[in-house]
Amino acid sequence: MTTQAALVDRVRTAIEAVPDPELPPVTIGMLGMVHDLEVDDDGRVRVALLPTFAGCPATDMIRIDVEAAVAAIPEVSDVRVQFHYTPVWTPARISEEGHRRLADFGIAPPLDPGREDDAGPPAGAVSLPIVSVVEATSGRTCPWCESTATTRDSAFGPTPCRDLWMCTECRQPFEGFKSA
């Protein structure tokens, strides 16, 4: 491995290890937010991140944390972080480890493959469905008892990326990571 390739690897590792400020057990690497990374011969780093939500107020904190993590590498002379909206981040970018840590944290992961609500945005043009079904048609898996007998209590939660659920099996409320 060349020195340059090794440096890129170290930079990538440092970026991916940055925790999400609102979900500390989960890193931005696990969330699949790292889109692109360039390191030039003079040690200048450009990072392209995909925000999970366009209206996420934590993006600034994530940017500052990523800049600090990268700047701590001695060979790095400069770092610039940008957020991109193409390609669109989708729940499919969350790693298996990310799913596990979200559930351990008490938040149902967003992706249950096959459920219409969790399919994520399609590539290219989006056409919003006309909403006629009011309640969620399928439940998330309860992070406490793993039952799928759950209902959505509220489409909005403590942060823009989370909604509120109730488990009818263990009678516990829990939060879900939205599928947007």
């Binding site: 366009a54 209206g55 107020p57 600034d60 193409t86 945005p121 290219g124 009011v134």
Partner: protein
Amino acid sequence: MTSLRAAPGVTIATALGAPRSQLLLVLGDDDLVTGHRASYWTGVAPAIEMDLAFATIAQDGINHADLWYQLIVGSELSGNDPQVRAAVDAIGLGRDPGDYRHAILCERPPGDIAFSIARHIVVDHVLATRLDALTGSSDRDIAGLAGKIAWEQRYHLRHAVRYLGLLAGAEPAQRSRFTRALERVVAEAFGLFESFAGEAEVVADGTLPVAHAELRDAWLERMQTVLAPHGLDGVLDVDEVPSDALGGRLGNHSPDFTDELWPEMTTLYRSDPAAEW
């Protein structure tokens, strides 16, 4: 000529009068003002679910506005650059009232729950219709951001339609109060489809793939589908659009904005545009 109150040394490279900038101001201002009005219900909504919803809708609106403004300042989304940050803040909060391009309906006071929910239903369906169209924009940044926001908008629509069902199915007195609010909101919503200065240019080059006048038809179809199951589609027959609901796209705003919302929304920024946060 648009004047901006901005921190010393901040310059805005793109003229706000350019057609693309005017489009982005329309998009951003509708979101910003809708967000500010939604924030009224934080802590005082009659149901916790609604409280959370309006708080999030407010946050989404203001953050989405910020992103549209970022596209005025630079082609790449780079709101972290201090100069870009200062310029975006100046666009959002440093303009005179007459330089805002949102529709009058968005600036109306929250009124009662019937009015706020009626506006939530109507305006969010307008925004969804327009976002759908914008995903086909010839401007890559606008198309990408529209797709992202459109997907998040599903949650707003879901909440709106849920309360449509609840208020439409309420006791007759509540239902008729809600129906009257819906009638007023739908009539004023026509102000959202007025064209803005430079619209012809951005339609011609594909930046705005569908003109506002045509978006209105797509929105009416959507509303028909949403309202008909509740027997409320009659509110879509609007005889006359109230003239005081028009003019927002050209910066002619009502005292609801110039004397009330604008002073409150911008007071902190105006007190010290150079403050660092």
